[in-house]
């Protein structure tokens, strides 16, 4: 008979595997994406998706106890600082003039934009 214990185990097992899958996808994104600006997306996949699912999976595994409270503190803190840190890096990169050399789209459009900018 499906006891609550078994149900919780299955749920946390699924969450943790989903979370580690997302972390894998995020790090594969780091490996595969062409330039810095698209790698920001990969970083936020790890920071938000993977982290939250794994911590939720651990929370279900721990049940209602002090451990879950600690885990939720960690999750809340990382939810707040994860995007903030990624934003800070993106802002610093933009300020430092890191050019967006967009290899994915053809660069002719890019040169036309630059020409227009120079005219104005």
């Amino acid at each position: 008979m499906m006891t609550v214990e078994l149900l919780l185990n299955i749920l946390s097992w699924a969450l943790i595997l989903l979370g580690s899958g997302l972390v894998l996808i995020g790090s594969f994104g780091f490996f595969r994406l062409p330039d810095f600006w698209s790698r920001l997306h990969a970083a936020s996949v790890i920071d938000s998706g993977g982290m939250i699912l794994i911590i939720l999976g651990m929370c279900f595994q721990a049940g209602l106890s002090l451990i879950t409270v600690k885990l939720l503190f960690i999750a809340i803190f990382l939810i707040i600082t994860g995007p903030t840190a990624t934003h800070a890096v993106a802002n610093a990169a933009l300020v430092s003039g890191l050019m967006i050399n967009d290899r994915s789209s053809n660069n002719k459009i890019r040169e036309e934009d630059l020409k227009i900018e120079k005219k104005e």
Partner: protein, 100 residues
């Protein structure tokens, strides 16, 4: 279950370390190190669960705090003391905000 998660996390850390090694610009390295930090938090949590020691989570929380501060410190350092040597992709404007 936790073993699988631990192995996957360690693989991801290795991929991110590879990105830190070859990252062309400084900022690739900063986000890779930041992501390694959050992965470290998760690894500490999972190891804490594996070894049935709940006090690991305090270490994980502390590590999350320090990781964030470390990332911001590196950015602040490079913003006000612009090191141009390693930034191939940065164009010549990089020093313009050197208002230190």
């Amino acid at each position: 279950m936790f073993e699988v998660c631990l192995i996957v996390l360690l693989i991801c850390v290795i991929i991110l370390l590879w990105r830190v090694y070859i990252g062309p610009t400084l900022y690739d390295r900063v986000i890779a190190v930041n992501s390694i930090g959050t992965l470290a938090v998760l690894i500490i949590g999972v190891v804490g669960f594996l070894t049935e020691r709940p006090d690991f989570l305090d270490i994980a929380l502390l590590y999350a705090l320090i990781n964030f501060i470390g990332t911001i410190a590196v950015l602040k350092f490079f913003r006000y003391k612009m090191v141009d040597a390693g930034q191939k992709l940065t164009n010549e404007k990089s020093g313009v905000y050197d208002d230190s």
